[in-house]
């Protein structure tokens, strides 16, 4: 986890499923404690996610919004983007690509 004044960065690694989803939630919650306006979920090394992860993303997005924070997903792989789009999560959470260009 890294941060500068403006944003906290959480690296999400490996697979998010029913087994690892609690750890996924905790790592986001931990970064919320830094109270930065932006929380970047670096998804470069996230190889797999399913509905359990989508549920946490929606939950955390709502929670951060209440606190005036904002979650951004960085560099998700095609399979991750597909799920975000299928479930409509990409309508409420911004996605940025590696270059930094906004999608």
């Amino acid at each position: 986890m890294g941060m500068n004044e403006e944003q906290a960065v959480v690296k999400i690694k490996g697979e998010v499923d029913i087994y690892s989803v609690d750890q996924f939630r905790e790592s986001i919650e931990k970064s919320m404690d830094q109270k930065t306006p932006k929380i970047i979920l670096d998804c470069t090394d996230l190889s797999y996610i399913d509905s359990t992860g989508m549920g946490v993303l929606i939950e955390m997005r709502n929670k951060t919004m209440e606190l005036g924070q904002k979650i951004v997903m960085k560099n998700p792989k095609p399979n991750v983007k597909k799920l975000l789009s299928l479930t409509g999560v990409d309508k409420i959470i911004d996605i940025i690509e590696n270059s930094g260009g906004k999608r």
């Binding site: 087994y19 997005r61 299928l86 309508k91 409420i92």
Partner: protein
């Protein structure tokens, strides 16, 4: 037509074995990378449901893969409490609803889905993915 059966403990840590095995079978069958990813998600969603809704704490559930020339058919069966598939509502895709995506995702990604469920007896969900010719490299 080859049959593979996998019986897993009803514990979250073994769902990855379902993904690992279906990915290996589908890879060997020549499914595209995208299709393999879809199959991993579909089988995981079905396993997650078998675990979450089946109240069968110390039990197990069964997966079967049927390898055919042009398709992979797989089922996930539990001995859980069962439900009425027709009464499940489609999720709202406005990003406000936290749950209820599992069956929707499965139906979106697979070519055929069939659910047989009996209250108190269990649920079996059967999914088919066709190996699309145009996806082949």
């Amino acid at each position: 037509m080859d049959n593979i059966t996998l019986i897993l403990p009803a514990k979250p840590e073994y769902v990855s074995l379902a993904r690992l095995t279906i990915a290996s079978v589908a890879n060997n069958m020549g499914f595209s990378i995208e299709d393999v990813e879809d199959l991993k998600v579909a089988v995981s969603e079905a396993c997650t449901n078998a675990l979450s809704h089946s109240q069968n704490e110390n039990g197990s559930y069964e997966l079967t893969y049927v390898v055919d020339e042009g398709s992979l058919t797989f089922t996930v069966s539990d001995n859980g409490m069962g439900f009425e598939p027709d009464s499940v509502m489609a999720p709202q895709l406005d990003g406000e609803q936290v749950g209820g995506f599992g069956l929707f995702i499965i139906k979106s990604l697979m070519d055929q889905v069939e659910i047989v469920s009996r209250r108190g007896l269990g649920t079996s969900i059967r999914m088919v993915k066709n190996r699309s010719v145009c996806n082949e490299v």
